[in-house]
């Protein structure tokens, strides 16, 4: 803490956009280092939600009255914002879901169930979140397909050669996290997509941990499905996005039946609506979509490049500081990492760390991060994880270090 902080890349005033950060926790200033679990919300998002409910609320896609038309317009405007945010060709390629988890389940149950049969394979990696493992296991039970797992090395880097060897004529889908939530590894998704496409295999990317931290361009990636969650990109909970190439989405059967996803219904035959509505049965999370739009516009206003650079500076500062503490082991040391730092402190269980951190006002995650196979790879039951958002600063990292030292004192 005697060394001067590197130059902050994001204006300190952005921190003031997040009212929750003014709070104290156990009489200490709140240091929020759990954005990988969920990000805090800027005032513009909070205002968009309350403003919509106060003056703009009505159901969408049905009313002939102005309020409903305006709500529909706001809803579809948000879809366009999402299109801009991830560089999709058309707004109809974006389906609103409850989150990444539902988006992956949707692909598994529609694309997966129609395209996979006994002996077919779904290729994932060892570092997936449970939400990119379990939907495929369910699909395997339903279809007789097989889940195949690409391995990583002890830095948490995907073994790309091994991964390439696992792609074969039986592979029907590749599903990989863009960024690992437990380790922070940024996967070589361009190479993965090229490998898969060379054999005409579609690729789904779980972008839950990437979308908040870096510019995403689904067309440049040429990815077939991309998923992310609203609450991790500073938007509301209960809203997420599935991007799919139009041709794929059009060929897929619907996910759920209900209102809004149909063109006509008789008891003999129902004609499904066009995409994206085919996949959005029932009254959607209208306010959530509008809040998500507000969050993405907020991020675009700052610039995802700047956010990525800011978080990279925090990560490198934190890595350097934690490496100076001999009792600390960083878990996940891939060359390409996003702002996630999982670590262990010798002789102190992560759950105990979490409690001591909390008493110091520092919110971190302690546990298996819904990635138990990752924990197994590293032979630990759990890790402590600090993760960064655009509102974090170098002082937050200093507090992290101080609190680790405090925990070591308590346990000495």
């Amino acid at each position: 803490m005697t060394t001067p902080h590197p130059q902050a890349l994001i204006s300190e005033s952005l921190r003031a956009d997040f009212p929750i950060l003014e709070q104290k926790m156990h009489d200490k200033p709140l240091v929020y280092l759990d954005s990988a679990a969920s990000a805090q919300k800027p005032q513009v998002v909070i205002d968009s939600l309350s403003g919509f409910y106060e003056t703009g609320y009505a159901n969408i896609h049905r009313g002939v009255y102005k309020l409903s038309q305006d709500a529909t317009e706001a809803f579809e405007h948000a879809r366009n914002t999402v299109r801009d945010f991830i560089g999709a060709a058309e707004a109809r390629e974006l389906i609103f879901t409850r989150g990444t988890t539902e988006a992956i389940n949707l692909v598994a149950q529609t694309y997966g169930r129609s395209a996979l049969g006994p002996g077919d394979e779904i290729l994932i990696t060892e570092m997936e979140h449970h939400s990119n493992i379990v939907p495929w296991q369910i699909l395997c039970e339903q279809t007789g397909a097989k889940l195949v797992v690409g391995l990583m090395d002890d830095t948490g880097t995907l073994l790309l050669e091994n991964f390439a060897e696992l792609i074969n004529a039986r592979t029907k889908l590749v599903a990989v996290s863009h960024v690992s939530n437990a380790l922070g590894t940024i996967n070589p998704v361009r190479e993965i997509i090229e490998l898969a496409h060379a054999q005409n295999i579609p690729v789904l990317l779980d972008g839950a941990q990437a979308a908040p931290h870096m510019p995403i361009d689904v067309q440049a990636l040429d990815v077939d499905f991309y998923t992310f969650s609203g609450h991790k990109v500073y938007g509301p909970t209960g809203i997420g996005v599935l991007y799919g190439k139009a041709a794929l989405l059009e060929a897929m059967p619907p996910y759920q039946g209900g209102g809004d996803m149909i063109l006509s219904v008789t008891f003999e035959k129902t004609e499904y609506n066009e995409i994206p509505h085919k996949f959005e049965a029932g009254t959607p999370n209208i306010a959530g979509v509008i809040g998500l739009g507000a969050a993405l516009e907020y991020l675009q206003g700052i610039g995802m490049d700047r956010i990525a650079a800011h978080e990279a500076a925090l990560l490198s500062y934190a890595t350097e500081k934690l490496e100076e503490i001999p009792q600390v082991t960083i878990i996940g040391t891939a060359k390409e990492k996003a702002g996630v730092i999982s670590f262990a402190v010798e002789g102190i269980h992560p759950h105990d760390l979490g409690t001591i951190f909390d008493m110091d006002g520092v919110a971190i995650r302690a546990g298996h991060h819904c990635a138990q196979p990752v924990m197994e790879h590293f032979g630990v039951p759990a890790t402590a994880r600090a993760s960064f958002g655009l509102y974090n600063n170098f002082e937050d990292v200093d507090m992290l270090v101080q609190t680790i030292q405090h925990a070591m004192e308590v346990f000495s």
Binding site: H349, H351, T355, I356, G367, M375, V410
Partner: protein, 150 residues
Amino acid sequence: MSDLRALYQEVILEHSKNPRNFRMPDPVDNFANGINPLCGDKLTVYLHVVDDVIEDISFEGSGCAISTASASMMTQRLKGLPVEQANAIFEQFHELLTSNIDQETSDDQLGKLSVFSGVREFPMRVKCATLAWHTLQSALSGEHADVSTE
């Protein structure tokens, strides 16, 4: 005493670093597994009960300081006691962790276990302190079902 110091008392830290009765008996007579899926704590409690008396009790596993110390001190406290008394102690222990009753006014069967009173200020950690006890109850019931805190 700060809440944190009250939680991590010397005795608790000492037991977490050097757990007592930390072994698998040979042969294994009766056991049950307990897990806390939230934090990944896993432990196994082994029992040898003769005529409703806990002749031997031990455990193995990995967990946080609170769950390890609680398991260790549980085995120390319950060894040699009738099952009925063990159940009564668990009830008191649970009350100590969750209610605001002053520990000194309760009929003190807890002995050293009363050092866990600090857990009360940390509701998220009550499950850590009771994991071994719930696992013990599963073993005692003879159902051998894995116990989960969730």
